[in-house]
């Protein structure tokens, strides 16, 4: 297993956001996580990426069993976990090229970065990524000038630039046109060929198109797991989520 979350619980002011959650992701794998509002989807990502510390439970990374709970956000990111936020967060004041350049898999300590100068390989990688996300002709533009969908892609591009082993993607299709959605699906499925990708999504059509294993979260723990058809037939799932 690449990522193994077991028995994790977290409480905010008496509200149990995650309740004895256990989930395991293999490599490579494409996994969709669905669930109603407040089911703990985003909190799950927060825990894996180190933003939130759980009250109890374990989070193990790779077959070496590295304990992610002891690592800082940046160390977790360097260990190979990339995250895309629900709201597109790119650095709007900077060019698309700078955004991608920052995300490139290079050494991240201040002194290396201070003396870093772009190499041919880096340049090629940026062009390649730009092409993949369809922003080749906008490399010099300010990221803030991009459309909403383009920002989403740029963020996915930055994620790919990090070359992570695990991608956590929070509602990638929010606010996209149908054709943009289709492209996003392709991107994710392509990425999942070589690495693990976890997608949080509300949109059942989108999930269906991803055609992958689905985990249904409810009140902070996994209610059901399996193919989309399997979970949509599960009576409990229908009661809490789909049947509303």
């Amino acid at each position: 297993m690449l990522l193994e979350v077991s028995g994790v619980s977290v409480t905010f002011d008496g509200f149990r956001a995650i309740n004895d959650l256990s989930i395991a992701i293999g490599e490579p794998e494409l996994r969709a996580v669905i669930g109603p509002n407040g089911a703990g989807k985003t909190t799950f990502m927060d825990i894996v990426t180190g933003k939130t510390r759980p009250d109890e439970g374990r989070v193990r990374w790779t077959s070496h069993g590295i304990d992610l709970l002891k690592m800082s956000e940046s160390a977790i990111a360097r260990a190979g976990i990339g995250r895309k936020f629900q709201k597109p967060t790119v650095f709007e004041e900077q060019s698309v090229r700078d955004n991608l350049s920052m995300a490139l898999k290079n050494r991240r300590d201040p002194f290396s970065v201070l003396f870093w100068r772009i190499a041919a390989a880096d340049h090629a990688r940026i062009l390649e990524l730009a092409e993949e996300i369809g922003l080749s002709n906008r490399l010099a533009d300010r990221a803030g000038a991009l459309s909403h969908g383009q920002k989403q892609w740029l963020e996915i591009g930055m994620l790919l630039a990090q070359d992570p082993r695990l991608l956590l993607v929070d509602e990638p299709a929010a606010g996209m046109t149908p054709s943009e959605r289709a492209h996003t699906t392709d991107l994710l499925r392509r990425a999942a060929r070589t690495r693990a990708v976890v997608v949080i999504e509300h949109d059942m059509e989108f999930v269906r198109r991803l055609d992958c294993r689905v985990s249904v979260l409810h009140e902070g723990s996994v209610l059901a797991e399996g193919t989309i058809d399997h979970v949509t037939r599960n009576q409990q799932v229908i009661d809490v989520y789909l049947g509303r």
Binding site: A77, R78, S101, A103, P110, W116, A124, E128
Partner: protein, 401 residues
């Protein structure tokens, strides 16, 4: 996403240009600074026609130092997003470090001269005691505190110019950034640090002469006979050089990916963290480096000012520093220089009695009384209406063209 552009799949990277050629603003700045230095030199009393008085040379030299600390402030605030209210404290620490040597060495020369005529030559302990009471008599003590152990050594004190602010910034920054204090909290915390430092220095037993501060710094030991006009010129050149080097250093640091990262930290530090950058290290690096540069600026400033006391370090000084940078325009280095130069020169002109009072008939506006009101209100206006400061006007003209 079907309109994929056609292009070489593996193009050569863009030819790497020297960053100075890349950075036109830095080039312009260097050219103007050189021209300014040349003009002042040619018009000075020491070298040139004497049109510019020595005291004005000193004011201009001091202004250059203020510009340097403003540049440092701009980097830490305008680029990295840390509104530090402590950089003038670092500036003061640099001044204190060099001031200790200036005061000690001068006192030692005076003491040795006066004891030279004695029948029995003085012992080293006697000289140290006499220097101690010469310097510390004013706070009712005659012993040199341990802090002054290396005050006789110029190299050590020059190292302290860098180390004292650097170490303070390193320790403080490490504590503050580690606990993820950001935004206004961080500003308040830096202000608290500045307050603590100035309160400490205000004590008579701080080892730095309490509120008397260090004085007589304009006299350079070893050059006590040299006229002030010449010394003022040296320091002016030194300040100009320091400003030029500091500017180029910062421009270089900001020119590539490092600059990208710290601007990204300013805009969204959580996101930078998830990209795998250890944000705290970057902040600490910038905070400490700018503190060191501030210390160097202070070390050049106070020998020109002649006196340093704890009031210089008080939080309000650091606030003024932020005001200069904001008025000049954050996030651009020349903006900081512009703001510091314009506001500090205007301030010394208006409060120094240089400006004529305005007689309204029923009330006479005296600038010494109204300058701060004007500055305060003007500053609010700049914040509200010109958030980009004076530097923003350049953008405006650039766009017009």
């Amino acid at each position: 996403m079907t309109d994929i552009i056609t292009g070489d799949p593996l193009p050569a990277p863009p030819p790497r240009r020297s960053f100075l050629r890349h950075n036109r603003a830095a080039l312009w700045f260097m050219a103007l600074l050189s021209l300014f230095t040349l003009v002042v030199t040619l018009l000075s009393e020491a070298v040139g026609t004497g049109l510019i008085s020595t005291s004005l040379v000193k004011i201009l030299g001091m202004t250059l130092c203020l510009c340097l600390v403003a540049v440092a402030m701009d980097v830490v605030w305008g680029y990295c997003g840390i509104l530090s209210l402590g950089h003038f404290a670092f500036f003061g620490l640099g001044g204190y470090a060099v001031g200790m040597w200036l005061m000690y060495a001068r006192a030692e020369i005076i003491i040795r001269d006066s004891l030279a005529t004695a029948e029995i030559p003085p012992t080293e302990a006697e000289v140290a005691d006499a220097v101690g009471s010469q310097i510390f008599g004013v706070v009712g003590s005659s012993e040199l505190p341990a802090l002054w152990a290396f005050a006789h050594s110029l190299p050590v004190q020059l190292a302290m110019v860098v180390l004292a602010p650097g170490l303070l910034a390193l320790v403080f920054g490490w504590l503050a950034f580690r606990s993820r204090v950001t935004g206004v909290y961080l500003s308040i915390l830096t202000q608290a640090m500045t307050l603590a430092l100035s309160l400490y220095l205000f004590q008579n037993d701080s080892g730095l002469r309490g509120n008397n501060g260090l004085s007589g710094l304009q006299n350079i030991p070893g050059h006590l006979e040299t006229p002030q006009a010449v010394i003022a010129m040296w320091f002016f050149w030194g300040s100009a050089l320091a400003l030029a080097l500091g500017y180029v250093l910062f421009a270089w640091i900001l020119s590539d990916k490092f600059g990208s990262v710290i601007r990204a930290i300013r805009d969204n530090e959580a996101r930078v963290r998830f990209l795998g950058y250890h944000v705290e290290s970057y902040k600490l690096f910038v905070f400490t480096l700018t503190a060191v540069i501030s210390g160097i600026a202070g070390a050049l400033y106070y020998p020109q000012a002649g006196i340093i006391n704890p009031a210089e370090i008080a939080p309000i000084a650091s606030i003024y520093l932020a005001v200069w940078v904001a008025i000049g325009g954050r996030g651009r280095l020349y903006g900081a220089v512009l703001g510091a130069a314009v506001v500090s020169l205007l301030s010394s002109w208006l409060t120094g009695g240089g400006a004529p009072d305005i007689n309204l008939g029923f009330y006479v506006i005296e600038w010494t009384e109204w300058w701060l009101v004007l500055l305060g209100v003007g500053f609010v206006a700049v914040t509200l209406f010109f958030p980009r400061g004076i530097g923003g006007l350049f953008d405006h003209f650039a766009k017009e063209r």
